[in-house]
Structures are given as structure tokens and as C-alpha cells.
Amino acid sequence: MVISAETRAAIDAEIAKYPKRRGALLPALHLVQKQTGWISPETAQELAAIFEIHPIEVMEVVTFYNMFYDRPQGRHHVYVCTNLPCSLRGARDLLKEIEQHLGIESGETTPDGRITLGHEECLGACAWAPMLRIGAQYHENLDVETAKRLLDELK
């Protein structure tokens, strides 16, 4: 079993909130990813059993949404917003500097598995551009030096 007893209990609590079981699939995927970092074929099978659907239906949902991952990820996700308001205020340069600093391109993971870097569409922080998020945490009004320092602090 991949899904821990604790995660399973949290999934059951979510299922109770919806009129149909499947309503809790997105919440369940968030919970499982919190535990395991990504959705493996084995995890998809376990979820399919819980939700009484086919594993392929779980994977269809996983691949539709940007925030669910069907392969292993770095320990930290770093996403730079490159939509228009951020681009107007230097986001593209920031992303390039970060790529150089980490020695990887957007979409890749550092060889030590520390950071997966990506660029993302508007994150709702447009007035405080450029910005990036590290997991759930937003960092706004960035300059290159501050951004590099933030990345260096990640273990």
C-alpha cells in the first residue's frame, strides 16, 4: 500500500463532504501528493479502488491538471510566473537568471533532486511582479539576488 492510514482517513473525511464519492477525487489527489510527491501507477490503482472507478480515469484527471504529477518531482517546486503583467516587469529575465543559477531549464529537475523548476501562468500577484512560488509560498517583488538567495536556502 502506498497510501498511508493517515492519508486514507483524511480522504474518507473528504468523501463525506460530497454528495457523490467521486467529488472528493481532486481533494484526495492533493492529499496523496502531499504524502508521496506524485501519483504513481500503483497509487492510481489504490485511488481507483477507493473511488470505484478505473485507474485510467484517475490518470486522465492527473494529466488534465497542471498541479498533479505523473512522475517523480524534485523536493521543491519553484515556479516563475511569466504571464503578461509579470513579463512586463522582468519575469523572463528572472527566469533566465534562475535557469543559469541552477544549471537547468524550465521544466527540469536539478540532478540532486532538490528543485523542479517551471514557469507558470498568472498566479494572481500581478501588481507585485516579478514573483515566483516555492510550493504554496508566494514570493513577490523579487530581484534576482533575492530570488537566488531563496533558492540557495532550499534543502
Binding site: 454528495p19 486522465e60 497542471n66 498541479m67 503578461l84 513579463s87 533566465k96 507558470e120 500581478c126 501588481a127
Partner: protein, 431 residues
Amino acid sequence: MQKAPFVTSYLTEHAGDDAFATLAGYRARGGWEAARKALTQMSPDDVVNLVKDAGLQGRGGAGFGTGMKWSFMPKAADKPKYLVCNADESEPGSFKDRLLLERAPHQMLEGIVIGAWATGASKTFVYVRGEYAQPADVLQRAIDECYAEGLLGSDVMGTGFAHDVVVTRGAGAYICGEETGLLESLEGKKGQPRKKPPFPAQYGAFGMPTTVNNVETFSHVPHIVKNGPAWFKGFGTEKSPGTTIFGVSGLVQRPGLYELPLGTRLDEIVFQHAGGPLPGRKVRGVIPGGMSMPILPVSQLDVPMANEFLRERKTMLGTGGVMVIDDSVCMVRVACVVTYFFRDESCGQCTQCREGTGWLHKIVQRIERGAGSREDIDILLDVCGKMEGQTICAFADAAAWPVQGLLRHFREDFEAHVEHGKCPFPQSFEL
């Protein structure tokens, strides 16, 4: 935590005060009294009529009358009815709902309870975009407080009315902001919009009658119940009453949030409130309402920000996300960013949209590289024409409008690329 607006009115008056996000702090400012009034002194129909009289229009982008929408919900109580609060806020350039979730969650929840009373809904799903994990936590804390104090649950304020609120987090798909894409996502599926009819008021979440409203829309409701329609109409224009929260971004001195009456002139927002362009620069164009809305050139900013006026200039209020572009920026590059976004976010169900967004991006990129022809410019317009009004949801229109706007007002940038084979704006941000 998001910064408070530079200009506030009734929605954001206390947004700078951390305590306002707590039940105690909200109550100390008179919070939850409007819901008490609605549930104890007004019938559901009274509430619907009041919101109709006030003329509140949805703040999620389409501007549909809220009271009218509520009146579409069936009266029969033979099956459960639901509300959905749309907190997916993914339209590029929009960041007002995040503020309302983080700094005024009880105001929105009070609006939800009033809306639930008016429509007979037993449950509300608040669908929060996946990236707003922190706002979702703040909201969940506020909901927990409401349950503990009997403002939600089986007996709201001792009136016998029952209402539950559930927070559902999305997972990074723009299309889940479209109301039927949202409903699919809520049911644990891919967020692919549904064919309409049937409309959500007949067949919505989990097949039950459902009304979808935006975060800001709900947040206005307690103020209308408390102060009445005449007061509400004291803000804004005759056809578009109330305030809204404009989010100003891009190349201006003071990007940020500004709560102002609808009908405030766009040039006043850009030049007075947001301080105008950066030193030594000039404003070239402004996107008035989130990325889907056509751009206006600087010569046309003397327009009141309300749909009845913006429509005359072939654009709309949308989400009130005001993006300012200055004279360092090439509009072909803007088009690259815009078309990339829509190509990436199309859900792929409709051929016109799936293929059209792909072609728009491909052709714009070709023009950007200096490899385009004059004919390409006309093909862009042709593709846009074929995307409009043809698809399951309004996403395809939303993808075509900004390209049409850029070509309507800044065709010369596209022509310069085609003619000289390079970009006329060397200072423009790099892609």
C-alpha cells in the same frame, strides 16, 4: 498575505486590518448582522427582489444580473440545491478575489449564507484555484469559526435554516473558472465545459440545481442587505451600480488594488490613482479587464469603466484587471504571450478552439520571428472570426478578442515585423 488596496470603499475598508479576517474582528465591525436580518426579517423572495432592485451584476467577468440569476433556481424543495462560489480567479491580470479571500473571508461567507437563504441552497462549494493554498487555509479557518459559533451548520443563527460550506481546491487549469468546467471539476473529473442547455439552475453540481457566483459578487451582498438598493445605486453608473476592485498591473508607478465605483474613467485609474507611466516612458495601450478583453490605445482611455461604455469601444470590463503597456513594448510580443496562454489552456473539446488557438500562436510567432507575410495578418483575423460564437464555451471567444483588439489598434507593429523582418522595439521584454 496580500497588501491592502491603495483606495478603498465599502468592500475593502477594513482589508488592512488583520483582525477583519477573524470572526471577532468582523463582528466588531457589524459583520453577520445583514445575514441575521435576511434570515429573520425577510423571505427568500424578498432577498432576491432586493438584490434585483439593487442591480448587482456578477463580478466574475460576464456581468450577469445576480438577482435575476438567483430567481432562475427552482422553488421546489424536492431535491437538494447548491451554490458554488467561484474562487478560481485565473484570468491573467486579476488578483482581487485573492484579497477578498485572505482579508475578508467572513464578508464573502455572509454573502453566501444570504444567497443560500434566497435560493434555498443547502450547501455551498467554494472552488478555490489550487495555487491559492494560503487563501484557502484562511477561508477554512473562517468557516471553522462559523461552525463553532452557529453561523453555519444545521441551525444557522437559531433560525432552523441549515447550510454547509465546503472548500474544494482546484489544481491548475484556467478552464475550471468557466462555470460548467468548474462543475465538472467539482465532480472529480477533467474540467471540460458542458454543453448548455441544460443550464446549471436546472442541472448543476452533481446533477442538482446550482447557482454559480464569483467571490466579489457574494461579498457585495451583505452591504446591499444592510444598506438597501438606493444606497448601492449611489455608487457607479445608472446601468452598472456599486464599486469594484480594479487590479492595476504592468508598467505604471503604483501597481496595486483600487476599489472604485464602476464608471470611474480608465485614464483616471491609470494616470491619477496608479500614478501614470514609469519615468521617461509613455503609456501606449491598456488592457481594461483581464487578458481576454481587447486592448485600448492611449487615445481611447477617456472611457468610464462600465460595460455600457466599454462596449462602444469594442471591449469589456471583464474582471477589472487593468494591464498597462508602455512605449517600450512591441504589441507582437504581447500577442505572443497572449496566444501562448490560450493555446496552453484550451480544454481541446471543440475543433475551432483547439485548432484555432494553436494556429493563432503559430502565426503570431512566425510574425514575431520576422518570417511572416502580410497575408498572415489577414489569416489571424480570419481564424479569430471562425472561433467566435462557435464553441461549447466562451473560452474560444476570449482567445480571439485580444488578438482582434491588438490588430485593430496596433496593426502597424505587425506590419513592421512583416516588412522589415525584425522587431521595431529593441527595448521590449525578451521572450
